[in-house]
Each structure stands twice: as C-alpha cells, then as structure tokens.
C-alpha cells in the first residue's frame, strides 16, 4: 500500500510542485519518553494512503486570483495539505495526493480560482481501510 508518487508536474502554466522529488519520505516515527507515539510527520501520514496518480492535473488553480485573496481557506482546510503559500503572494498546489473531497473549491473565496473535476477513471485516491 505504498503511495505511488510519480513526480509528474501538471501542465507548465500551472504552478504544481512535486510532493517529494527525492522519494525519501520519513516513515519511522519517534517514541517519546512517556512511551506514547509522537504525532507522525505529514509525509508519513500521506504515505499510508494509496494514490494512483494520473498525468493530467484534475485541480487547476488560477494564481492571479489567489494574489487578491485575503482568506486563503484552501491552505488551512485541505486535509491533504495540497496548497501552500509562496513568498510572492501566490499559491503552489499539488494534485497528486488529493482525497478528491472538494473542500478546496467549496471554501475558495475567489470565484473561479480553483477549477476542480474528478481524475480519470481508475486513478486518484484508493482507500482500503476507511
């Protein structure tokens, strides 16, 4: 059940980022002195989920609209943490590890900034124990 993180970028006019180009996601986790498990890294968390990544990005973000957005709800609310702010006021996004839940476009404050559709059949997230 390993994540198939092909480092495929979306079309060049979209500012996609690869999730982990080196492919060295931390999977071990530290055990605190109390014996309780420390909260796992986000990469390790996402590594528990299977994604069958398609080359076409099913999320398209219009970065020009994000610059004017004061809310940026997608950054906080996306459960897969696919949206990250950039220094120049834009937003980087990744479609590869998407749960296909729809949170991002529902909380989006700028009309039409996030275009969202389902990935090609047979691709995207595949749950097994949920």
């Amino acid at each position: 059940m390993s994540a198939t993180n092909s480092s495929t970028n979306g079309p060049s006019d979209q500012r996609s980022r690869t999730s982990d180009p080196a492919g060295d996601m931390p999977t071990s986790r530290t055990v605190e002195a109390s014996g309780r498990y420390a909260e796992m890294s986000f990469e390790a968390r996402m590594d528990t989920v299977e994604f069958r990544v398609h080359e076409r990005a099913h999320i398209v973000v219009d970065g020009r609209k994000c610059v004017d957005c004061s809310v940026r709800g997608c950054i906080t609310a996306c459960p897969a943490n696919l949206f990250v702010p950039t220094a120049d006021g834009g937003i980087l996004f990744n479609y590869e590890q998407c749960f296909e839940c729809g949170t991002c476009y529902m909380v989006c404050n700028e009309e039409g900034a996030i275009s969202w559709s389902y990935p090609e059949g047979g691709h995207g997230v595949v749950f097994h124990a949920s």
Binding site: A44, T48, V71, T76, A77, P79, G122, V126, F127, S130
Partner: protein
Amino acid sequence: MSDFDVIVVGAGPAGSAAALEAARAGMRVCLIERGPFPGAKNMYGGVVYGRILDTLIPNWWEEAPIQRWITRRSTMVLTDSQALTIDFRTESWGKPPYNGATTFRPDFDAWLASNAEEAGATLICSTTVTGLLRDGQRVTGVVTDRPDGELTADVVIACDGVNSFLAKEVGLYPHTDPSNFTLGVKETLALPREVIEERFAVRGDHGLDIEMLGCTGDVPGGGFLYTNAESVSIGLVLSLPQLAKGGIRPEQRLARLKEHPAIAPLIEGGEVTEYSAHVIPEAGYNMMPELISDGFLVAGDAAAMCLAAGIWLEGVNFAIGAGAAAGRTAAGAVVRGDTTADGLAGYRTRLETSFVLADHRKLRDAPHIVMSDLAQQKVPKVICGMAEQVFTVVNPDPKPGMFKILWSELRRNKMGIRDAASHGIRAARTFR
C-alpha cells in the same frame, strides 16, 4: 433504442441499491464507478445501520463484510480537561437482525455492488462520468472518459456523491453554500484484538461506537471513535467555513483530540494504517436539491441525504433506502414508457412515505441546532462544569443545591437563562 434502460452513476450504497432493484425488476442496468473498485473513493464517520437491507438481501448479516457489531454506544461531552460520558450497551444488538455495525467502506460497498451484479446489472469500474447527454431538458445518457464513451439510457440515476457534478449540471443545485458542508478526517489505528477487547470492554465480534461533542475547538463539529476487528477509527467532523478561517489544519485538530486525557489511553500504541478524508452534506432536509428531472433521479450524498442530527448520525442507510426507491421508480417508469419528471414523480412519494424523507423532514432543524454556537461552545462547558461541581466533595462546606450549581455554570459560561430555555424548547420541539 437506448444502450441501457437505466444507467446508475456511482457504485456507493445508493448506486448499488438502485442498480440492484432496477436489475431485479428486469431492467438492463449499467452501474458506472470511477474508482478501480466500488468503495475505493469512500470513507465515512461511523456505523452502518443495516435494517434497510432486510428487504433487499435476506440474511445479509451472514455475508456482509462486517468488522464489529455495535453493542455499546457512548456519547461523550468534552472540554479541554473534562469528559462526561453516557454509556449504553445491550446484548440484543449483538444478534440478528442487529442494529449498527462497523465496516470498511471499500469492503462494504464492493460487497453491495456484487449483489447488484448478481441481480444482472453490468458494473463498469475505472470509468469517470464527465457529463450528461441531453435532448433539450431531457437527460438521455452519460459521457464517460472512455474512448467512444457515450452511453444512452431512458433514466440516469445520479449517485455520484457529495460533489454531485451531475445534479449541478442538470441545475438541481442552485449553488454550493460551504456552511452546509463539513469535512470528515479520520485515522485508522491498528491495535491487537485483545487490546481492543480489554480497553473497550467488548468480546468476540461486538464493538463500541463513541460520539463526541466539544472536541473541535472553535470550529463547529464533533468527533468519533469506533472499534473495528483489529483497529480503531478516530476522527473529526469540521464545519467548512470555520475550519477554513480558523488557521488550524484538520490533522492538527485531530492530533489535539488524540492527546485528550479521556482519549489518549484508548488509542495508545495505535499505528496509523490509513489517513482519510471526505466532505459530508451536513444540513439535511434544508439543503436537499430537487430530486427529479426528465429522465433523471438523484440519490444518496448527491442529494444530501446524510442525517447529521446529533444523537443520530446516519447516512449509508439513507443512501440505500433512497437508491432502492430510485431503482424501483425508474423501472416502473421504463415499463410504463413515461420517464419524464412526471413519470418519475413516484420517487419522491416513495421517499416521503419511508424513513428517508420522513426522518429528514422531522429532524430538519437538528443540524442547525447541533452546530450552533450554544450547543458547540457553551453546552459542553455547562454540562461538564455541573458534573464536576456535583461530584466534588467540598467539605467542610455543605453540598450546594442543584439549582445553585446550574445557575453558577450558566453564569460562568455567559449563558442567559432565557436563552437557555428558548434553545431547550426549540431542541425539544425538533427531537420530539
């Protein structure tokens, strides 16, 4: 002649129930699923209530892929440092016909779809429906992402989930108001069977379901923890607008719940085997779209049929009930040769005379009450505060009276007595 009598989009509980009933009525049925197998895209926050299956699949409990039968149910009210739990258990839920069960949706949904296939429906997986074929207002089929992927049908039943692009395409959803939706996030944590039996006081294939209020900080919502055979599932349901504004990410909020003194000992040592998330249509009856159009029906999450009414948290059963009604209605309309909106109008009547719309209409104010600031922020503090005062022995002082305790907690939480009374009356009216 159409390629199929009925095309069902989405092989979740609604879609498979629709395909099952339409196929049994002799229809040529195509059930289209975008995942590599039915259930691959699905997760949920809890429990399947199976009685609706009694009429569809006799003795379903002998073959359904169940993790545990719920015989113990707890409702927990939390503050940062307190917890008050109402705990109920009954042996009667541990034998046929059972009440609730935990199951993994990729297993359960695939099983239900296999029943539709056995009834004669054609299941096509790994195929995304990208749009509808229309003749004027009338829906005449679907467009898929397969080469030459157009398929025609007399009736299309949209069971395409909470985002229902198909219901939107037909114009049944005027707009998407994020305050009607919540995000569910969940971790499945592996624990040995013996540990689960010991920690949760259950034996064999019996299990526990815990629902929580007061564990989502400044975001309206709730929490859940339930037992699977060799894992527990823990998660949160979070209102979208406040989650987006709150600055704390969903998995961080879940991490806080996992550290709560009442929760941490229950999940200690549990290794995350799967993290998952899904959006939930939370607002029930008041957010439902039109359910019928020419050649077109909507069922399940696509029609906002999740019941998020506080003490009752259901969804899969509503999807199955609605899907089955849609399948039967479509079959009847095809046989009569009238699949216009008028010809399909019996769908709504069937739902209104069953629990699907009867429960939703009766409890239409419940989601709003449960997600209100009062229920979310103040009630847990008042309840836990009262419990602490009642059970704290304050010798050498004498015990304070119950009313004095209630007044002091209401005052401490800035809750007016008139406010409390009016909300109490409203809640009583909703849940009567």
